[in-house]
């Protein structure tokens, strides 16, 4: 973990892409490079979902050990490395949450909504800006309530049942709200892809 000059965002992305390719080719030293470049972002994710330092660190370990075991699962034609790793880390954290060992969702639902103002750590690798703008645009087109619930699911890892409880509505109602939102979201995102 030697200190090194801070690369630009593009250089960092390119270095990560290259490290992922080396890892897939069986070069173990690539894993340390990937860890160095992504740990801050990925730990931010597992910590956010799990709300517990120890659990989040365990989840983070799982992410990288898993990555090393199955580096071939990453398909560079489908996603940028950081987008894929971010989703991977969040999925692992959610898995852990669902095994029931963790209390999870450290942050109340009400605080979940707009997080855009929170500034990430300076050396955090971000997902592609264009892609980010589009999902924010499509989410922003949903009504505020639906958007809030979808965000709460994403940021806190809440289930339908938890969201329904928090909003004090029947489970079926919450499912309908969110599914309708997801349907619109899909249409909006697909339209952006077609454009």
């Amino acid at each position: 973990m030697a200190a090194r000059p801070r690369p630009t965002a593009d250089e960092a992305r390119e270095a990560l892409r290259e490290a992922m390719a080396r890892l897939a080719a069986g070069d173990q030293s690539a894993l340390e490079d990937i860890y160095r470049a992504t740990r801050v972002k990925l730990f931010g994710i597992t910590l956010r979902i799990l709300g517990d330092q120890k659990e989040a660190e365990d989840a983070l370990q799982d992410v990288y050990v898993n990555l090393w075991q199955r580096a071939d699962r990453y398909d560079p034609t489908r996603a940028s490395p950081i987008a894929w790793l971010a989703a991977f880390a969040r999925n692992r954290a959610i898995d852990r949450l669902r095994t029931g060992k963790v209390r999870g969702g450290a942050v109340p639902v009400e605080e979940a909504a707009p997080l855009a103002d929170e500034s990430p750590l300076a050396d955090m690798l971000l997902v592609d800006a264009e892609q980010a703008a589009q999902i924010h645009k499509c989410l922003g087109a949903l009504d505020a309530r639906t958007q809030g619930h979808i965000r709460a699911a994403f940021f806190e890892g809440h289930t339908y049942a938890e969201l329904a409880d928090a909003a004090d509505v029947p489970l079926g109602t919450m499912k309908s709200w969110i599914r309708r939102g997801l349907q619109r979201l899909r249409a909006c995102l697909e339209a952006s892809e077609a454009a």
Binding site: R39, E57, R73, A79, Y160
Partner: protein, 261 residues
């Protein structure tokens, strides 16, 4: 945009892309989550759609503040990887026969015990081979003094063909014995075995199955940790060599679940 009232009149169709979205968001739990995982292992369109959602949602993580993990995290990763090195190596070079023999001996030993206790048919089936295969000698009666770890056994029938996979895992051995009975190589496909953890964790490849042979397969620690009652297995048909990097898994040809004998 305030028309999303309490009682939905036009109910949303919960099609596969919708379920993939729910999964990607993390809304699914229990049976539904398991079903989604299983489907993703067998349905390339569904797996594609899940990744599509994952990828679109990924930029939202930029709003999660970054955090520096403890220095011991990397040490832990390095240690776990170092610990798995020999196991991975063994899996790669088609498993040394001595290893198989040693494991078979252990299996026979518990099998005798289990046979006395419960006449577990699934366990005995391990030794029933298709005609033409050199049969493994019948289990010799061995008095088992020390209690053996209870093995997990899964029988994976392949359609109506009478072919099957018998999979035995002895806890703490980090080895699994796989007998692909009646399965023959067609020269075009391999069959890859996948673990579907009972806790809903990610599917894990257990490697390519060798037709018509009993093989020991080394298990990565991450896989053994997920093995347990209720963990299930799926067998997919893949190109020679197993699922190519970046490709979706092939069609599922068989499924089975582990039970403790």
């Amino acid at each position: 945009m305030s028309t999303t009232g309490a009682t939905p009149k036009n109910e949303i169709t919960r099609d596969d892309p919708m379920i993939a979205a729910e999964w990607a968001l993390g809304l699914l739990e229990g049976e539904e989550l398991l079903a989604a995982r299983g489907k993703a292992a067998t349905d390339p369109d569904f797996a594609w759609r899940k990744q599509w959602w994952d990828n679109w949602f990924a930029p939202l993580t930029d709003a999660m503040p970054g955090a520096e993990p403890g220095a011991q995290v990397w040490d832990g990763i390095a240690a776990r990887i170092a610990a798995q090195q020999p196991a991975i190596g063994a899996a790669d070079d088609a498993s040394p026969p001595t290893n198989v023999i040693a494991l078979e001996a252990r299996v026979r030993r518990w099998q005798w015990v289990a046979g006395l206790a419960s006449a577990a048919a699934a366990a005995l089936a391990l030794f029933a081979f298709a005609p033409g295969r050199s049969p493994v000698e019948a289990p010799a009666p061995i008095a088992a003094a020390a209690p053996m770890p209870k093995p997990l056994v899964a029988t994976v029938p392949i359609g109506e063909t009478g072919l099957r996979l018998d999979v035995t895992y002895i806890p703490e051995s980090e080895q699994m014995l796989v007998a692909a009975i009646g399965l023959t190589a067609d020269g075009v496909h391999d069959h890859e075995l996948w673990l579907v953890p009972a806790d809903g964790g990610a599917l894990q490849s257990l490697g390519v199955v060798v037709p018509g042979e009993v093989r020991s397969m080394a298990l990565p620690a991450a896989a053994t940790a997920k093995l347990g009652d209720g963990a299930s297995l799926v067998l997919t048909r893949e190109p020679i060599g197993g699922k190519p990097a970046g490709a979706n898994a092939g069609p599922v040809v068989a499924k089975g679940a582990f039970t403790r004998v």
